[in-house]
Amino acid sequence: MGSLGISSDVKVIDMEGTVVERRKSNGIIPNTAHTNGFLNDSVYTNGIVKSLSTDDFVKKAGGGEKREHLYKILVIGELGTGKTSIIKRYVHQFFSQHYRATIGVDFALKVLNWDADTIVRLQLWDIAGQERFGNMTRVYYKEAVGCFIVFDVTRASTFDAVVKWKSDLDSKVQLSDSSPVPCVLLANKCDQAKEGLVNNANQMDEFCKEKGFVGWFETSAKENINIDDAARFLVNQILTNDKNIRADEEDRDRITLENNRDSSREKEKKGGCCS
């Protein structure tokens, strides 16, 4: 079934009861109202779908059309490897020596003007500091399309845990075509003295190949080394995947209890034509 799902009485509905539409395969959402024979009141607005992952939608901005992607990216790894610092550096452009658990916020948002027609919004999900024993909820992993696993080059034990994190990730989330979520390994704190395998680039390449990482980078949140590059590399992977698996994502009639005023306004506007 196509996502328009007219023959069923199930639709994508957000918290306000507004019917929104998930992206069609061509990425264009028809901005027209359809009438649902059964309920007689459904409007498929040019709505914003709350749900994360590979949604992209077309936004009318000053006449021109831009493609937007919203991607959920996980940042996982052992305690104190610099996950929060990396996110801070990447999103807020600052670094602090003081390690703090992350409290009160699910993710940091980074907006990239990828190219002339594409905007990429990255939600970087920190592990909420204290879910630190590797027991992540599925809610955290759900619908992620990319992942950074971070270890600390000065502590070999954090590297040993990388495999455990990778298998936890793969067991709890996969892309809609059942392939693993692209994952980049970050050897953080590379401005400091290194310990173990990371000193041998060939072996690291080998390791990544063997364990299914799409690549690895030496990074330093402190000195701002390679973080943008690593992110760019991962986004490239995601965009490639997105093209391949797009067709699969479609037929999910979902409801999020999220409210979204924009789409509701849209709905109010449209209300007249189909009630």
Partner: protein, 736 residues
């Protein structure tokens, strides 16, 4: 790995089930330090959802394999003067009679049901089944006679074509692979208003599936997408193990219920997605029918005569506001609901609809209970479309996890596969902490534990009950239609045992319960404690709806995989005197099919312990938090020097948001208001939405008009729903 666990928390919560998780989130949210642990290596405890591999592991665990053990500790060194310990059991003994069967055979033993050595379990099962095997025609005849037994009136109606269309189409198509009920049907059906686009996709789908049939013949299916016309084998099911989400305790959410409300107000809704229950079914004369619930349904229903329609409409109209007319039902309040329905002159069919599909009560239910449940159902209709129920995608085991995530985001510490080996109690019989299964002493002010963890002496259990559960994986819907994504709910009374109806829930793959082309069916039935055979107890329901093993029915779905188990739960208990006051015991999943009672329980506990605090207030928007480099502030350093334990407490009084001080550097509120939108840009919107909010609450208080309840009309109900200020989209805009 867990050796850096702090030694002190405000609250230790043991068990990651629903009420415990709600409480963990509520305590973390107000700045209490929370340690949340669970004996299992998965979340949600007795409320968990498993994939195919996970549920097999669970079976082993229930059977006592791979359990935790008590650590060896030097007790005196851990205890202070006057303290003693209470040892806890480490196992959950609620489950028994667990049995998993792969009825789908591997390709080499398809058709040879007996005689292949490496599937012992299957063999014993199939021979067992041979004995009970009933010819399908005879079976249906049986059902008919049974149905006649309970409601003669149903027979007065001529046998109509009912909802068989789906089946007919399939027969007409005469597909070799008889299970092709799901797609492939030409979409141009009388009433459908399909767009050409949709037809297009469907055509594509069906042509794709024909192509694949050919492939299938020689390759025996490594492709995951081709599901319709393909045989499912054990190997194939196992290959798709990750795509299953099988619930130990499947729970729905009333659209207008407390859980939905809580998810919205606490913003935990952002972690979950739902699918609507698209149809309520009922079994009449051995045939499944869709129950008309909304006004639109009632009018379009072919199963209800004009007179009945009027009666039903009138009755439902009354039910929606029954509490305003006590004189109408007072005499019946304590009498059975059924009697009252008769008194209201509803016909047999209509009574059946109201009792089993709308109120979903047993024959024993009183009128007061029946009316209350009928009203709750009606009040839930229309909010998210033409349905009263929501199903959490990926299974209801997601719900506790959503609350755990919220707790973790607000600083809760999570550690699975760890529980309390013993509770430490001081001379005043107050709990001062626990010794965990790794031998570490951890102090706490409150200890919250799920019932199955609690020491026997802490509770006088006054009554116990037992549920039998069955999870089936099947190859087609119990009532196939053109739309293969129907999520169905059905209460099936057992004519031999009318007090204990079976609740049946059928989940399509789009509920993220299973791979495409399959269905997961949950059957739940209460049985007396004396019974111990869940298969026996559910036999009537299973044989009414599903094909017997080995039989390839073109109408009934075949069972590919099944799990049966029984679960005892405590219905009523009184805390004993030996229970320390600061130990709180929460209940596991009971017989309810929704989560509203659990919310009530958790909220009650929280408000009792924290009378001054708000229960799960909305968290601050990320844009309210201003990041300042910590090095610039000295306040932080101070905070750092304090122990976790005490600094949390000082923060508490200042309100929730300041709690963030501890983490991200400085967090400044730009507004005194607690958690609502504070940035100036957003202010207008907030005002705007608050206005709406008050409007709508008024509306809510005065009760929804029947029109709204019954028509499933979102247009009107929408107003009620547009009320919680939050701008997910605005958020993005601002960030840009």
């Amino acid at each position: 790995m867990a050796d850096d666990l702090p030694n002190k928390f405000d609250v230790i919560v043991i068990g990651t089930g629903m009420p415990e998780s709600i409480l963990a989130a509520a305590f973390s949210r107000i700045g209490q330090t929370v340690l949340h642990i669970d004996r299992n290596d998965y979340y949600s405890g007795q409320w968990a959802s498993f994939n195919l591999e996970g549920i097999e592991k669970w079976q082993k665990q229930v059977n006592g394999e791979e359990g935790l053990v008590h650590p060896e500790v030097d007790l005196p060194s851990l205890l202070k003067d006057g303290e003693k310990t209470q040892i806890l059991g480490l196992m959950d003994n609620s489950y028994s009679n667990v049995k998993i069967v792969f009825s789908a055979k591997n390709s080499d033993d398809v058709g040879i049901h007996e005689g292949i050595g490496d599937h012992e379990e299957n063999i014993s099962k199939s021979s067992e089944n041979k004995a009970d095997k009933v010819n399908i025609d005879k079976d249906q005849a049986d059902n008919k006679t049974k149905e006649e037994g309970i409601g003669k009136e149903w027979l007065e109606k001529p046998d109509r074509e009912l909802k068989e269309e789906g089946n007919k189409e399939n027969q007409d198509k005469d597909c070799d692979y008889t299970s092709s009920t799901e797609t492939g049907d030409t979409p141009v059906k009388g009433e459908s208003t399909d767009t050409s686009e949709e037809q297009h996709t469907e055509c594509e789908a069906s042509s794709a599936s024909t192509e694949k049939e050919d492939v299938e013949v020689d390759s025996c299916g490594t492709e995951t997408k081709m599901t319709e016309c393909e045989k499912w084998t054990e190997d194939k099911l196992r290959r798709e193990w990750r795509r299953f989400n099988l619930d130990l305790a499947p729970r729905l959410l009333y659209c207008g219920g407390k859980m939905v409300e809580l998810l919205i107000t606490s913003d935990i809704a952002k972690y979950c997605e739902f699918k609507t229950v698209t149809r309520m079914l009922t079994l009449l004369k051995g045939k499944l029918e869709k129950v008309p619930c909304s006004r639109a349904d009632v009018f379009s229903s072919k199963e209800v005569s004009m007179l009945d329609k009027r009666m039903l409409m009138k009755f439902l109209t009354f039910c929606a506001e029954y509490d305003k007319h006590p004189e109408d039902y007072q005499d019946f309040a304590d009498k059975p609901y059924l009697e009252y329905l008769e008194h209201k002159k509803l016909s047999g069919n209509v009574r059946h609809f109201v009792q089993h599909s709308i109120a979903m009560v047993t024959d024993k239910a009183t009128t007061a209970e029946g009316l209350q449940k009928t009203q709750k159902f009606l009040m839930s209709l229309g909010r998210y479309g033409n349905t009263a129920f929501l199903w959490p995608l990926y299974g209801s085991g997601e719900m506790p996890q959503s609350f755990c995530r919220m707790s973790a985001v607000f600083g809760g510490t999570y550690c699975l596969r760890m529980t309390a080996s013993s509770i430490i109690v001081d001379s005043d019989n107050r709990c001062t902490g626990i010794i965990n299964t790794e031998g570490q002493r951890i102090d706490c002010r409150w200890l919250i534990m799920e019932q199955s963890y609690a020491p026997e002496g802490y509770l006088h259990i006054t009554s116990q009950r037992q549920l039998c559960r069955c999870i089936l994986v099947t190859d087609k819907s119990i009532l196939p239609t053109q739309d293969s994504n129907q999520l169905s709910l059905l209460q099936l009374p057992d004519p031999n045992n009318p007090d204990y109806p079976t609740i049946i829930m059928e989940l399509p793959s789009t509920a993220m319960a299973c791979p495409q082309g399959l269905y997961v069916v949950h059957l739940t039935k209460e049985i007396p404690l004396s019974h111990s055979n869940p298969e026996e107890a559910l036999k009537y329901a299973v044989s009414s709806l599903f094909a017997e093993e080995g039989e390839h029915s073109s109408e009934k779905p075949s069972i590919l995989w099944s799990l049966y188990f029984t679960q005892t739960f405590c219905d009523n208990s009184v805390p004993s005197d030996s229970k320390p006051d600061n130990v709180i015991i929460t209940s596991g999943p009971g017989v309810e099919r929704d989560l509203d009672n659990t919310v009530t329980e958790a909220q009650g506990i929280f408000e009792n312990l924290m009378p001054e605090e708000e229960f799960l207030p909305r968290p601050p928007n990320p844009e309210d938090i201003i990041y300042i480099d910590e090095e610039e502030t000295t306040a932080n350093q101070n905070a750092e020097n304090q122990s976790d334990f005490s600094s949390e407490k000082t923060d508490q009084s200042e309100g929730k948001v300041h709690r963030t001080d501890q983490s991200e550097g400085k967090v400044h509120k730009t507004d005194q208001s607690d958690s609502d939108v504070t940035s100036e840009q957003a202010e207008n919107k907030t005002a705007h939405s608050e206005e709406k909010h008050s409007d709508s609450t008024e509306q809510e208080k005065s009760g929804k008009s029947l029109e709204q309840c019954l028509t499933g009309d979102e247009e009107k109900n929408e107003q009620k729903n547009i009320n919680i200020p939050q701008e997910s989209e605005d958020k993005h805009d601002k960030e840009t």
